[in-house]
């Protein structure tokens, strides 16, 4: 509380001291189960606050504790340390078991995003059932991304913040083994030479731009 007196000497309209701002982001993150963006936090904090700096302090403070401050996409959340999961048997939520098709489709979207349905079908070699995509959309693990600038302007799928939160990923860049896959050329979308039997709707044109899309993902 020493900061308060320090502050009183300064203008009334100054932002609160950083220690106080840290308390604020701490309180907000504890109060919600959803990740909060810096903007959402700043909107609720007094004028002139720097949520990013407060977050940096807070994150350090919770290093090694029973709960951790984690980054989820461009938002922040507090989550229990994974090694203490055994204490939370009562809190464990039974998740619907995903079908093999759904798991594969999810992985393809995560690693290849933004990706069209046709591209998913190209990779899996079978058509993607509506139910599979619907289930992933309903779980809010995937959402529609930008349309591809190719004939037909097909919609693309990308993974969501909920997905990142669920799997404890800071961003899609942190997907396990992503670098190796990329190095092996397995994330490239190679147009099939000539007359390859097309599985999905067969829009080869979608492939042309997909390499560009891939880089998009890793920019933010």
């Amino acid at each position: 509380m020493t900061e308060e007196t320090e502050n009183d000497k300064e203008s009334l309209f100054d932002a609160p001291p950083i220690a106080e701002q840290e308390r604020m982001v701490e309180a907000m993150l504890f109060a919600t189960s959803e990740p909060l963006t810096l903007k959402e936090m700043e909107d609720r904090m007094p004028h002139g606050c720097d949520a990013a700096e407060a977050m940096a302090h807070l994150r350090k403070r919770y290093d090694g504790r029973g709960v951790r401050v984690v980054k989820v996409g461009d938002a922040w959340a507090i989550r229990t340390a994974p090694d203490l999961g055994f204490l939370m048997e009562k809190e464990t939520v039974e998740t619907r078991k995903l079908s093999r098709a759904a798991v594969e489709t999810l992985a393809i979207i995560a690693y290849h995003q933004p990706v069209t349905r046709a591209e998913i079908e190209e990779i899996r070699g079978v058509s993607v059932s509506r139910g599979t995509v619907d289930q992933l959309l309903e779980m809010e693990w995937i959402r529609f991304g930008r349309r591809k600038m190719t004939p037909g302007r097909p919609v693309t799928f990308v993974v969501t913040q909920t997905f990142l939160d669920h799997f404890g990923l800071e961003s899609a860049r942190d997907l396990p083994g992503l670098k190796e896959l990329r190095a092996a050329g397995l994330l490239e979308s190679r147009p099939p030479p000539g007359t390859m039997p097309q599985m999905g709707e067969g829009d080869q044109d979608a492939d042309e731009e997909s390499t560009e899309g891939q880089s998009e993902l890793f920019e933010d």
Binding site: F30, A31, T32, S33, E34, A77, I78, R79, T80, A81, P82, G85, M88, E91, T92, V93, T95, L98, R100, A101, V103, E104, L106, A107, I108, A110, Y111, I123, R124, G125, V126, D165, H166, F167, G168, L169, L175, P176, G177, L181, A184, L186, R190, P192, P193, G194, T195, M196, P197, M199
Partner: protein, 264 residues
């Protein structure tokens, strides 16, 4: 490459019993496969080599044999399995025969390489799907706040008004007591004659295309009934002026603004 493939082909002719049984099992389990690519991947695994070094020719051979046996056992195969079979038969011929200089299109090697790539990619995605699902998961290994405190939404309503609101409000008050003789209420009517009278002196200024709605008289623009009347009569008057050769009229599209211009 072609040498090796011939070798592989020879091998596959003397299929060990165990492999044959495995193949039979595959057929019975046909429903368990997620399409031809999945089946190819499973067949490919029996070669017990790195997918990048897989013999596509041998794979094609295995697949075709599989389809053949399925037919003998009168197992209904989905169309895409047969499409793949036809394509693999084509690929096989390309790989076995010396390249025909007359024929264009991709070489057998290119096609084989792409199939190998597809198999490797599918395999990689499966492995990474498994790695993803093996991660610590929210609600299973780590947990969110169990007792969130609701953020109360405070709704603040602000009121606003424009100068026009103010003046109209005042005008309404000041004119309320004015004497108004009883008459058939034609207040909301703006006749074509009135519109013509209004437009004739103004039209001389319309050197550029002007929306006819700008010719609506004061007091006939806000109230819907009055605006309808004034719009209809102004439009009729415009047509009249076109007929007289005084103006030109145009409309870019259905429901687009109707515009007029002085005819010089």
């Amino acid at each position: 490459m072609a040498e090796d493939d011939f070798q592989d082909l020879d091998d596959s002719r003397v299929t060990p019993v165990a492999d044959r049984m495995a193949a039979e099992a595959l057929i019975v389990d046909i429903d368990g496969f997620e399409g031809p690519l999945d089946l190819l991947l499973t067949l490919g695994r029996t070669q017990k080599v790195d997918l990048r070094k897989i013999s596509v020719l041998q794979l094609a051979q295995q697949y075709l044999a599989f389809v053949e046996r399925a037919k003998q056992l009168r197992i209904e195969l989905a169309a895409d399995y047969l499409v793949m079979a036809a394509w693999l038969a084509f690929l096989k011929s390309r790989l076995l025969l010396p390249p025909d200089p007359e024929e264009d299109g991709p070489s057998g090697e290119e096609m084989a390489a792409h199939l190998a790539f597809q198999l490797e990619r599918l395999q990689a995605m499966r492995e990474h799907a498994a790695r993803l699902m093996a991660r610590d998961q929210l609600g299973r290994d780590f947990f969110a706040r169990g007792l969130p405190e609701d953020v109360t939404r405070v709704k603040r309503v602000t009121y606003t008004a424009t100068l026009l609101d103010l003046m109209q409000g005042y005008a309404r008050l000041r004119t309320r007591d004015e004497f108004r003789p009883y008459a058939m209420d034609r207040e909301a009517i703006f006749t074509m004659e009135q519109a013509l009278d209004r437009m004739r002196p103004l039209i001389g200024f319309a050197g550029t295309w002007t929306d006819i709605s700008t010719y609506l008289p004061e007091g006939f623009t806000t109230d819907p009934a009055r605006r309808r009347s004034a719009t209809a009569s102004t439009f009729a008057a415009s047509l009249e002026l076109v007929k007289e050769g005084r103006i030109e009229i145009r409309q870019a599209d259905t429901f687009a603004p109707i515009e007029v211009r002085r005819k010089d």
